[in-house]
Subunit: 357 residues, 2 copies
């Protein structure tokens, strides 16, 4: 494998000294970029784009051509695993993801495919290998998956949901069935992320997009332990380097102490959390990733720069911070505002990493 | 005025001893009830229903005929104030609230009507008076309004929003304009709630439905101080009794200490907060209202009862807790499950209020 030219992101995740705070953006390969929209049109459907290694590689690299990001993230969807399990993922224009089948009973659970990620999600591994080749060691590549609970919400509901009525009724009324589904998903996600790591992913992020919909007790029962199970099954090294894991529970700001104990090297925080308080609470044991409000990118470049300064100051001196948004970038953002965002992090962060700082 | 026969709710808000934990439900007069849907059809539009004092009274009382709730809540909408300010509120079926005009500039702000709630929102005061007469002292009546920030989100966006791009861009880029809008709204809301209290509301709740969309710093700048301004302008007594104020910021669980200092007697908490921890943190200064996950009502009556027991135990002994959901009841809930919920609170809570407990 080619030597990694910029390892700032990996070093910050391990809380090792860096020259400046690394940055990438959740959903950086996405609809706010005109070149993404063009490739997406060329590919056909969103899923066609995910399943075409060359085009998935192309959109993964697009934001890196515009912005000096410190990491690339695999272009894919969080729902590839349930799709491989046999649920039939599709996207209705403007409606979000849907499944042709749902999982609501013992029989539905028994009817899921046995999968081996290496084969059944081979298209993802092809994309990872293609991207690694094209990146040529410029920056590390992040692999990812949805968390077991987040995958379960879509599998039980059959798509997105406002109130998670069905999946919560199942969790509350048939906890044993829910725990069996979550165990199956944790093992599938662990196999999937392990395969991504073997194919070349140098860090992985678990997107627990809907963990924050649970009660405090529900989160500790249905989401966190299954992310812990995933993490415990991942190889801790590849290519002679540690492979850090980032856990991101949107809306999980009240549960940071518990999250910090799940085995991940880094915890993603959304913009509702004060990053200075988060560092006080858990910064001694994990790195933090985040957390500018994605809607701040609708403000002026000057205001964006001010906000970056505020977040950097709130985190303070030393390593252990990966700059990011507090959630995926919103379609409709002006790409020039992203330039201002990335430049601000590059220009304002070095002072927080000076020797003795 | 008639003597109040059941003041458990008011006493709990003031952390005075009670025989059992009082209960009511946010949106208890709502679509899950077939009799509500029938009256709604009879009224015409949702707004017609709000503006008809007799029918608004009828739907306010409907849940009390089914369930022994400890409070009634005025049937109205959180957006009546911006409507009176001249924005033209309307509802698209299945789309939520919309405004014909928006507020995005100095000129828009200058074009808002000067209002006096007593006159310009007279239909709300008629409803309050009618309901008080019909309640005949059985339980207290809660008045309410949206918070200044929450009203501003709808006024700037022109309706609901997923990412609050416009209102946040305005807050971030034109903070002075935003602060003028919020000041105007705080004064209008204070006038509106004061008029409700004069008309007969015995407690008031400020619904800060979208405060939780802000960053920690944004919340302290754009939402909390304006609720504080509202509260400071309300009469603290009416009919010889204290009129308690409840503040409910959905998604505000990380900011409870700050919220507890805003002048309200009670703080509403959503289901993502551990009510035991919340009591440890702020229970010495304010009452707590909440916080069962509304989706728990889709589970079985036995499971609902278990959850009520868990929440009561987490809060522990003594007064200062008003049982409620952590958010409005979801349309589609079986009304019999609400029976199980209310009965569980009635039957399981007295042990937490015994002398010496």
């Amino acid at each position: 494998m080619t030597e990694l030219k910029n390892d700032r992101f990996l070093r910050a995740l391990l809380r090792q000294p860096v020259d400046r705070t690394p940055i990438w953006m959740m959903r950086q390969a996405g609809r706010y970029l005109p070149e993404y929209r063009a490739t997406r049109k060329q590919a056909g459907s969103f899923l066609d784009l995910c399943k075409n290694a060359e085009l998935a590689c192309e959109v993964t690299l697009q934001p890196l051509r515009r912005y000096p990001m410190d990491a690339a993230i695999l272009f894919s969807d969080i729902l590839t695993v349930p799709d491989a399990l046999g649920l039939g993922l599709y996207f209705e224009e403007g409606e979000g993801p849907r499944f042709r089948k749902t999982v609501r009973s013992e029989a539905d659970l028994a009817g899921l495919n046995d999968i081996v990620a290496e084969d059944d999600l081979g298209y993802v591994m092809s994309a990872v290998r293609t991207i690694r080749r094209e990146l040529n060691g410029d920056v590390p590549l992040i692999g990812f998956s949805g968390s077991p609970w987040t995958l379960a919400t879509y599998m039980v509901e059959g798509g997105g949901s406002k109130d998670f009525a069905r999946v919560k009724a199942m969790a509350y009324d048939k906890p044993e069935l829910m725990h069996r589904l979550l165990t199956l998903l944790a093992d599938a996600v662990a196999d999937y992320l392990s395969a991504q790591i073997r194919a070349g992913a140098q860090a992985v992020q678990i997107f627990d997009t809907w963990g924050g919909s649970l009660s405090a007790a529900g989160y500790r029962e249905f989401s966190l332990p299954y992310m812990q199970r995933v993490i415990s099954r991942l190889p801790s090294e590849a290519e002679g380097r540690a492979v850090p894991v980032i856990v991101f529970t949107k809306g999980g700001g009240q549960w940071l102490s518990a999250i910090a104990g799940c085995g991940a090297q880094a915890v993603g925080i959304d913009w509702t959390t004060d990053i200075g308080l988060a560092r006080q609470l858990i910064g001694g044991t994990v790195a933090l990733q985040g957390n500018m409000d994605p809607s701040m990118l609708f403000a002026s470049p000057a205001r964006i720069r001010e906000e970056v300064a505020t977040i950097l100051a709130a985190y303070g001196h030393g390593s252990g911070h990966v700059f990011n948004l507090g959630h995926g970038i919103t379609p409709g953002v002006d790409p020039d505002h992203v330039t201002a965002f990335v430049e601000a992090v590059q220009e304002l962060s070095p002072r927080y990493h000076q020797a003795g700082g």
